[in-house]
Symmetry: C2
Subunit: 212 residues, 2 copies
Amino acid sequence: MTESTRPMRRQDIRRENERAILLAAEKVFAEAGFGGATMQLIADLAGLPKANLHYYFATKEELYRSVVQNIFEIWLQAANCFDAARGPIDGISAYIDAKMEISRRHPDGSKVWASEVMHGAPVLQDYMESTLREWTDGRVAIIRRWIDEGKMDPVDPRHLLYMLWATTQHYADFGHQIETLNGGKPLSSRQWQEAKENIKRVILTGIGALPA
Amino acid sequence: MTESTRPMRRQDIRRENERAILLAAEKVFAEAGFGGATMQLIADLAGLPKANLHYYFATKEELYRSVVQNIFEIWLQAANCFDAARGPIDGISAYIDAKMEISRRHPDGSKVWASEVMHGAPVLQDYMESTLREWTDGRVAIIRRWIDEGKMDPVDPRHLLYMLWATTQHYADFGHQIETLNGGKPLSSRQWQEAKENIKRVILTGIGALPA
DNA sequence: TTGCATCCTGACCGTATGGTCAGCTTTCAG
DNA sequence: CTGAAAGCTGACCATACGGTCAGGATGCAA
């Protein structure tokens, strides 16, 4: 066995290990919550000795913070869909698609985010009071404009946003419940598609953007 | 100070202490999750020595199980609204009202329930596979009937139910986020009312039960 | 009043966990 | 080639936690 693998340059090592740790941490935090997660479990899942975790992330809190911030980035990126849109049909459709895709591809991240908010956002409070608030205010303005332009009914923009967040996020956070009610099987591609279409149809019709 | 208070009969003592413990436990489990909650914290909040908790609830798991089952009862009771209804407008309106009231009155319970499901329902798996599944199947049948009778559009009943659960539950589970975006203040009675009306209007219109 | 079951609790225990550290190996710039 | 910086890790530590228990206090039926 000559070492055909790994020259492994310093930079690569660091990047690769941090990635593995963050991935493992995301899963463990999602499954057990912050309090229930242990560094040992994360280390085992990442395939590293526990002490090595502390080399990259000094404390459990710091590791958790990194995981949560990663999710928040992804979450915010889905926002772009909204901006480019010409009206509610485009914008909200794209946003629902994007957020459902996050629920499907990053269920663990979604759960960590949900858990963080449920526990009073100890880590993200700053972000919520700055970035999230700005983002929300911006989208509220866009929706108001759409209403003024007669492109949709006068629905309270904030409650509409909450509805979008709730319905899409639900498929990740309550995925286990949905799976159980689906006969113990994860939703198929087809079922994910149906979910998206149902949500889009009900909401877009509900706000008067689509003909009833 | 003569003891005008407390003759405190045995039965009363037991009932009162169990109530206090369950209330405290609900709050602590909601705020910290199962793993993050400590018996000491619960005991302090209930105003009892820790050892006394173990007199009433042998283990942390048993206490947690009691809390979760309590919530599940409340959750299921909101179901009755559905049955008595003559059509989607009555039924879904009443269900949304009931579930929003739960989110408002029992935010801690809602969070514990959400947390339990998010972590794979280790305690409630049995219930989910029996009671919840039956309940869901029953409601799906009712919605199908409404669709057949032309009282609403042919929306997938399951996804509609998920939407109802998600939107209403969101106001409890993500209450902190909503509060932050509301300028740091809890929703007023008026705002709760608006939330309910928005949700009802969008969904009922969205499924074609109300005129657009 | 008595005896007993229930209720209560301070002190204690074993374990698991987050975190530390001394000293090793590996990479790489000069 | 060499020295220093980066990466790695087994062994260890202090603490906090869930849970136990012996024995005291209290309510109550007879």
